[in-house]
Symmetry: D2
Subunit: 282 residues, 4 copies
């Protein structure tokens, strides 16, 4: 797989922006593999992502960053340059449900998802067998004392230098301070089409309301439960003949696919969070 | 098109039910074209719909009804036998948006939707040109005085002996007593994937929340706004590049299709309302 | 999970059929959990599936079969009565691609798919690690000599008394005589939306044709390659920015879901093959 | 609605391309509303579309074209600059089916589709009533003598200075020389998910093959029937209970939506035809 740099920018919209960035890239010999722009006319804000063949750039990552810093300053850019060779450290938080966990593990194991998975943290022992097979360290934490438990979660995330925390059907509510600390770095999969059916037992809620489609939502974790910026959603048609249990079974494919896309987009720097929403250059 | 009877039943579940009904049908020589059953194990309730070739029945509609009444009583059935030849009278209530109105009119005009449309009622003059072309009486009502206006709506529904009232993007809130009077006989199309974004400006709400799919919901009208039993829902993928205006444009196809299916299912007696939900034998 | 009998019938259409069957079921005290009918008006043929609570029946499976045989004869029925407690033996045939194989294994392992998986047969060693973890005997067969190889496949299917053979991205063409022998008992997953792009490299074909959606098809194996009765299909939207490799990656979810549904429907006796097509009482 | 210029480019890929174009745009004060790029790595070819606020450009359309011509030459670009104020002339060719025709007419009438529709040409009189209502000149042509008929079609297209010819379920095969003359300027809607079921009676073909989804394809007309570059496709789930007639009815929504998107994309210069495929900057 090609080694790439990803340059992700957002800033107030103004004439000459694209010219300045592309001029800079051309001067450094950058071979642009993918470019995506978006101007939000309502916000008067500009968003941009470039994926560049790393080999095409004469200078190294640090020099590139320093040089681009001047352009960025001129246009008041929020920006980042990431290197596809530097794999993110991803922690998986799980409970007793296996479908999301092993789907992520399998995509990682087969190389589809480029990252490191240095640990799985769980409030049940159930997933240990999968962790062992994939040779990923498994940390069981007793959540009877939730404060102590989340302290341990926090310690592990630091210990493993985690860049992205994935709540793969982890059924515990993350405390406020940790949500803030992990802002933009923690992804949850919720088993409903948000904002419908936030909170507990979404399939049961869907069954009771009698909706004709069910879904799943992958979003960033924030202090407001199930209110974080949405990255990806999937839906599936159901009928009156589906019980709440049928929905649980059928809905898994929505959860698995929304989560896989969400993680992929995040790891490839395809997501820009702006206020309460995301832009996804899919 | 074949002339049919539709026998729709629901009752407490018990052994021998299907046998009793099908025995009755066989004795009357009924040629069953379509049969659908559903047992709700949680409610211990049985639901059934038969579509029968009318010509295969020796007796007439009235005798059939009388004879079946005895079976129905034995099993404590809620039931109805309708005749595909007796077209329902459908009133269309509209405002300024044309897409749902003309889609319904076109399906009716081409014979896809079998019903009578004796009147269109609107709180704006805008749709009159379409009504005229389709030669449907058009009643403009001034909604400055809402109480008087809805009194006039009610009068017209009675005058035209309306069986089904369709709110085809009619942007007025139907008063409580009229909702109750029209229970199970009035269908609304709401331009969101309910229960998300009930109430006003759902596309703007969807835009602000940053959802990745938008939708529309066809449901029965009840006193609780946008809370009635859902008949049909449609969704459509969008992205960050869609403004609220784009959603308005794109969402129309969801509204049109959900409403067309909803009306069709209702007119063909494919919907059974049970408490706050529907069964749809699509 | 409830223990059930599944009674699946098809026969020439005639009045009294449903009455006869439901009368029989009522007399035996059958508690019907699910009933599905379909009359093909063009073929004048009737199709029916019942799922019955096994405990509600007084007599045992054999007596039930004998008794129903008389009804069946009267109406010239093709029929079968299966017992949900008797798990089918399913053989998985694999090559080097893991996604379909491990999805089936995972659904089986978690109890979602009720069957036995006594063996995996493969023309590569790659999948052995998964087989070992799931503790399923793994048989590698060298396909240099295809005739000998398929003889060995055939021997293993007999040895393990296989009821259903699943080609989970098994990239070998099954010889004519074996297709015939396994008629209605072998399922393949093809990675295109058939009948488009049959044969080799369907994603490359899709890329070259420039279609805007890709898909996967789960079908019964017949002597005509990729021409067997279709059980399930899935599609997914793509765009010009997707390379053939992207399609390979994205299409996996279609393959996995179409195959999982196909197997599930078959194992639950929800599929009736009629000539070149299927009825699926999903 | 904003008045815009659309600059659409494709050329051999090379470093500095984006810089050159965006530099040019910045120098002319262009306010870029939308920008889309794509590099086809396999073809080593670059594709680009810009939508620019026309008011932001100091010079007029002609001067802009002349000035950009020099940039274009340097990079061997195939390009065009169109003006959103100059509405294309669109001819609709129809037969006896109304759904596609009136959907296009309605979108045009309500301003959703910005274009002129100076004429409808048909081989049946059936659609005249719609044409009259929309006040569009209706030309009935007798197709008994196909050569003469298509000569008349050609004459009308010239007479009305047609930019885009839309075959809205026009059931006649366009002769080779006219296909060539209209290359890239004629759009057809085919009622199947191509390449499956090309040619006559696609729903009947779909019914016979027993597919589980049906669809529609909007594509450019070429001499090879139903083989032209695909612009848009839609699909819909069906089941064994759908007759070929049900498919005809249900499939209409696919046809209508695929055609509406196809026309919209074309009119907004969002489609680039490259060899046998399209890029669609949707």
């Amino acid at each position: 797989m090609l080694s790439t740099y990803r340059l992700v920018i957002d800033c107030p919209d103004q004439t000459g922006l694209v010219a300045a960035v592309s001029q800079f890239l051309a001067e450094h010999g950058a071979n642009i593999l993918e470019a995506s722009h978006h101007t939000d006319l309502q916000l008067n804000r500009f968003f941009m992502r470039h994926e560049i063949d790393a080999k095409s750039i004469a200078v190294d990552h640090e020099d590139f960053v320093n040089a681009f810093g001047k352009v960025a300053e001129r246009y008041d850019m929020r920006w980042k340059l990431s290197d596809s060779e530097k794999n993110a450290n991803v922690a998986l938080l799980a409970s007793r449900e296996s479908h999301c966990l092993i789907d992520v593990l399998h995509r990682w194991h087969t190389g589809e998802l480029r990252c490191n998975i240095p640990c799985i943290i769980a409030n049940h022992e159930t997933m240990r067998e999968y962790a062992d097979w994939y040779k990923v360290p498994f940390h069981f934490i007793d959540f009877t004392d939730k404060t102590a438990a989340f302290k341990e979660v926090e310690r592990l995330l630091e210990h493993y230098q985690i860049d992205l925390t994935v709540l793969a059907r982890f059924m515990q509510i993350v405390p406020d301070h940790l949500c803030k600390k992990l802002a933009g770095k923690a992804i949850n999969i919720h088993h409903s089409f948000l904002p419908s059916f936030a909170g507990a037992k979404p399939y049961q809620q869907a069954y009771e309301r009698g909706v004709k489609l069910i879904g799943a939502t992958c979003h960033y974790v924030t202090s407001d439960l199930d209110e974080g910026p949405i990255i990806e959603q999937e839906v599936l048609r159901i009928s009156h003949s589906d019980s709440a249990q049928d929905m649980v079974r059928k809905g898994k494919r929505c959860e698995v696919n929304a989560l896989a896309n969400g993680i992929r987009y995040h790891l490839q720097d395809r997501v820009i969070i702006h206020q309460t929403k995301t832009l996804v250059f899919a």
